[in-house]
Symmetry: C2
Subunit: 109 residues, 2 copies
């Protein structure tokens, strides 16, 4: 599964299930879910939730943002913004910030 995620970059459950069935013909969907959840809990992978689409999963790497092409649906990793100035109400303590950009990729433009 990690190999598949390595290759595909960002894959949803069905991608993973269909790919892995090539090598392990008899694998069950439940096992895929179970392993995904185990790896999520272990912090090995991350879930990317996108409006109107099924969640995708990716191997956790250095902090980055995501660009989602609204035409082909492909997800691209992009560098995290260099500047990210935001103002929080007093007493709020930020831990993480995630940025998601939608638009058209070079192929679909």
């Amino acid at each position: 599964m990690l190999k598949i995620l390595e290759e595909r970059g960002h894959a949803d459950i069905d991608h993973i299930y269909n790919e892995i069935k090539r090598d392990f013909v008899s694998i069950s969907l439940a096992t895929v879910y179970k392993n995904i959840n185990t790896m999520l809990d272990a912090g090995l992978i991350e879930e990317i939730k996108i409006p109107k689409k099924k969640s995708r999963f990716e191997i956790k790497k250095s902090k980055h943002s995501h660009f989602i092409c609204e035409k082909c649906g492909e997800i691209y990793d992009i560098d995290v913004p260099k500047k990210l100035d935001f103002e929080l109400p007093p007493g709020f303590e930020p831990k993480e910030a995630s940025v998601m950009i939608t638009g058209l990729c070079s192929n679909c433009k």
Copy 2:
């Protein structure tokens, strides 16, 4: 339903369903889903997908970002970052950028 979203700010399907049942005792969950989808399609409301939680919905207003308290789960609207410098690969055309910040709100700190 819009009144509920107005009051709650960010509500998930169950919130909405339970609230609306007070006034319309016999309403069915399917109707709530159908109306949510209609309003989504009409661009009246927006879906906020959060890792590990059910989607929340909010009335579409001026562009803003979201702060999610990882303790109480509350969502707060915050101003969109003043600076948001990111570099895209050549040929990529950004349309929208959404920022989501997790951390602790003033109540939970």
